[in-house]
Symmetry: D2
Subunit: 330 residues, 4 copies
Amino acid sequence: MKPTTLHPAAYVSVLAGAIVLALLGLGAVLADDTPIGSKWWPSEWGADDQRGAANRLTPDKVLEARDLIQQGRIYQLGRIYEHGMPLPGKRHFSLTIPGLPTGAPTGANQIVSNDELFSGEIGQVGTQFDGLGHVGAHVDGEDIFYNGFKLGEFGDPYGLQKLGVENVGVFFTRGILIDLVEFKGVDRLPAGYAIPASELRETLDAQSLEIRPGDIVLIRTGHGQLWMRDNEAYGAGEPGLGMESAKFLTDHKVALIGADTWAIEAVPHEDPDQAFPVHQWNITRNGVHHLENLDLEELAADKVYEFAFVFSPLRLKGATGSPGNPIAVR
Amino acid sequence: MKPTTLHPAAYVSVLAGAIVLALLGLGAVLADDTPIGSKWWPSEWGADDQRGAANRLTPDKVLEARDLIQQGRIYQLGRIYEHGMPLPGKRHFSLTIPGLPTGAPTGANQIVSNDELFSGEIGQVGTQFDGLGHVGAHVDGEDIFYNGFKLGEFGDPYGLQKLGVENVGVFFTRGILIDLVEFKGVDRLPAGYAIPASELRETLDAQSLEIRPGDIVLIRTGHGQLWMRDNEAYGAGEPGLGMESAKFLTDHKVALIGADTWAIEAVPHEDPDQAFPVHQWNITRNGVHHLENLDLEELAADKVYEFAFVFSPLRLKGATGSPGNPIAVR
Amino acid sequence: MKPTTLHPAAYVSVLAGAIVLALLGLGAVLADDTPIGSKWWPSEWGADDQRGAANRLTPDKVLEARDLIQQGRIYQLGRIYEHGMPLPGKRHFSLTIPGLPTGAPTGANQIVSNDELFSGEIGQVGTQFDGLGHVGAHVDGEDIFYNGFKLGEFGDPYGLQKLGVENVGVFFTRGILIDLVEFKGVDRLPAGYAIPASELRETLDAQSLEIRPGDIVLIRTGHGQLWMRDNEAYGAGEPGLGMESAKFLTDHKVALIGADTWAIEAVPHEDPDQAFPVHQWNITRNGVHHLENLDLEELAADKVYEFAFVFSPLRLKGATGSPGNPIAVR
Amino acid sequence: MKPTTLHPAAYVSVLAGAIVLALLGLGAVLADDTPIGSKWWPSEWGADDQRGAANRLTPDKVLEARDLIQQGRIYQLGRIYEHGMPLPGKRHFSLTIPGLPTGAPTGANQIVSNDELFSGEIGQVGTQFDGLGHVGAHVDGEDIFYNGFKLGEFGDPYGLQKLGVENVGVFFTRGILIDLVEFKGVDRLPAGYAIPASELRETLDAQSLEIRPGDIVLIRTGHGQLWMRDNEAYGAGEPGLGMESAKFLTDHKVALIGADTWAIEAVPHEDPDQAFPVHQWNITRNGVHHLENLDLEELAADKVYEFAFVFSPLRLKGATGSPGNPIAVR
């Protein structure tokens, strides 16, 4: 996600709040009661850490995930990257095949070959993994990210010199699907709906599941059904985490949070003066990565609520995120 | 790979052969004794199949792989994508961060965000998975690919309409490393060395392993040690499969072949008139995918020869390949 | 332009016609009465020519243009290239600034610098010059372009080996504006309106002007007023040349035709079975280049109908077109 | 240009100087005796001006240029943009043709079409025009550009909000070629040679020419002969303006300075602690644009020292520069 992904209407509202605050002189310094709170570093994994909650991914979690594989059935959670998919703001997606074929017939065996050329915000279009270099907070004139790293120091036009996605490693761990659509008996939650922590808890109970440290948690809101069906509605807002439910998950020491939405969190946010505060809470303060624009329909249809989850981000040096096709296996 | 990745010297030699054949009038039609042979379709998985040997990936193979996970240790086999990595021909790699930050401070919480912009032949630079739309053969005036699909019919400038990488699915199966460097007691095999089938067999024996249908096989030649150390030598040629050893692997009904080289096969080829014939044999005729530019050093150092292998290609609609960070788990 | 720039509705209609013809077995061979006609090569400038009607640009035309410069007033005819401008089909436009600044403070003088990164179909977005490699005709299984050059021979995935825009040279010649909006006393001509030759003639008479060999002619339809005001209407169709008026201009041996539309010609075409036949007539058969998406409003407001015209295409090797900011000077 | 275009060796030297200064605490604030000097705004064209010395382009200058056109002969000064041309740092150039053809046969007339896809730092590769948003100075924690505009205020990841190249307008004015190669009787000046003002003066005298306000001045050093012949030497350094000769030209109130080099100025600079100070002097302080990587050979061969000069930058919104094919006409 990024701020410009807000629907124009929502954006104006956020901006209006920001202007009011700016007039009150509160814009520059984040107060203790802001979502991200006061100084959030050094991280619990040390002052040099660049992996955040991915540090919770241990061999034991791999083995725990392994034991959930009983049928050998794989669910692909990544959406297809294609022309016409929802794209926020000025981001673009271009895939072309030079030449058809790109490589003309060569050799006695007359081999021909094709390449594809891609242009776009690769870690921030379609199914996407938000790395720790994706969002931060502007505090006292500086852009500060996870573990207190300052963009002024690690920013580089050709790739971040810290917090790049190549540092994260691989997610092979226990995964949990919290299916709010099923639990609430609706088609999909409405845009702007901030899921209360109690609903996460009750759904988990109904699914007879608990969250354990190092798990990844996927939230199904039903919003994903709009993907490629009503892209405008898909991008105009979304249901998702509020501050309370975000804290519920970080309190449970998850390693990653995913959803069938483009920002994981309610848009517009509960507090219209805040822009994507759950991003800051999860990523910047707690080092918990996001996986956005997932397809959770098949998993839900089969009522697969606990599974081995595997996602291996591209090792794009200095990138803020990664595309991918995460899988659930049971 | 593609033909233009040949070293100039090798290329001239291939070309010279091609010209001779053309003069003899043999260029246009592939004879039965060419690597790819005569009519290679319909595929054993039906006339409509677009997945090739990925059809060998079954739930049973997932369970077989699961049982190899005993320690929960993950090996990342994907290389880092970065400026300065080896790039053949006119391919390019560009990664930039617009703005730093891309999204200016917004909201009372003053969130900032970064994106990355990527431009390049995404499925054909760095660690890469060759899909079935990547190589074919020019026969009687037509470019024919896996399962007899004609590029003139499924080619599309904005993404192939058949054989796109989004059709492949996920590789979660038993993996085998054949470490020729260890077996032969050398640092690395020389460029142009065509590994005989006997050496594959003997190395497997020495490693007390057998290949089973649906496995993926990784070949370590040591050539990968040149990556980012001597890019010119890395790209000028490579050791790898010859026709005999390629057939040995396809006879064993593997699902995918990977290596620490950029083309899996010996370059220049045993027969200098042939350009990348193993590509045609594996991909075009047998539907066996390639994984190129892997980093197999850590796996080899730990003598991990049998493992769970997981690779989930990006679902890039109509793409000829995919980048990735495949993993071995034991 | 390209065929996919057609409005969906128009496109279906063209396609329907094409299908009917295909069923009748007429699709593959172009009959004498098709817009492009029978064999159109060698060109009047020789069998090797790659410049087409740009050969009419002589030192004498430069001097003729010079004499039209009396006030030293320059009119910029190029539109601004920007996010949100009309883009047909799957073309894209992306301009970003890596880093801000791209180059960090360096030296005792602490210099900083910015670059811009561009991605897009550079010669076919916004104000654009159609080179001779842009359109051709599929005849008897081959794609044939200006002067009979076959795409199968000069096509190259990394830039055309013939007819590239670097061959064209510079347009410094007499320019004529035919202002149909003024002449007809309307705001703008309706989409699909095929300007008859008689109207070109009458407007020229009203403007007391004649067309001379080597001139460039700009047609003002008023359609350009929709640019960035109603992009959907702008792209859905347009008024412009029909076959008769196109022939009127090529009979007058013009060097280039421009307009305040995206295709110069009426869309949909007079004959709904034809797709962009004026493109074929002008470019493929007669070697007359196009300049599309011009801003002719200021020129018209000042009633500047005769002027020195200067346009110097980018020398992009092997490109099909060029962006630009052509000027009229009087 | 940008700092990273320095040859590694030169770069280290600049850096070493910078480090020394930084240790002395002199890095952050620019002293009066630095090339760019103290406060350089508001500009002589007002505090809001975004065009700089392009304001010297008047109708009178157009008429003055017109009178220099006596033969109608056009010289193209822009180089061909192509794969393999010199590219500094991490910039790239990619041009591909999707599909060949991009648009498949359509309509009864079976039209086919090609597009080209471009990716690269469009205003900063090959023949390039440096706009006023290209370079500035880091002073007291802020990046300050022409007319005192602060990057922190006008920077935008999707295009500069001030000083974008779309503001510049068109150069149609008197042009002067100062041919130092001819004057000094050498093949080319050596890299690092800082042309003294006296040599500019003497060459002008020898050519019987004077510089007038609003002229553009092109400097021929002979370095351009290395283009595509020895790209490494071309980029490793270059002869060009020193501070004295730069001041000579700005004192003469030129509108633009061009050269057959990639940075106009001597690299390494006379004072090895300075990085591209002439850029700052000309562009940032004086608003005088640069044209780099010109081909001046043909002009020199014909001894054309005075001519009409025409260059119309692309109106790329918010871009730092523009590609182009400037022309000299006599």
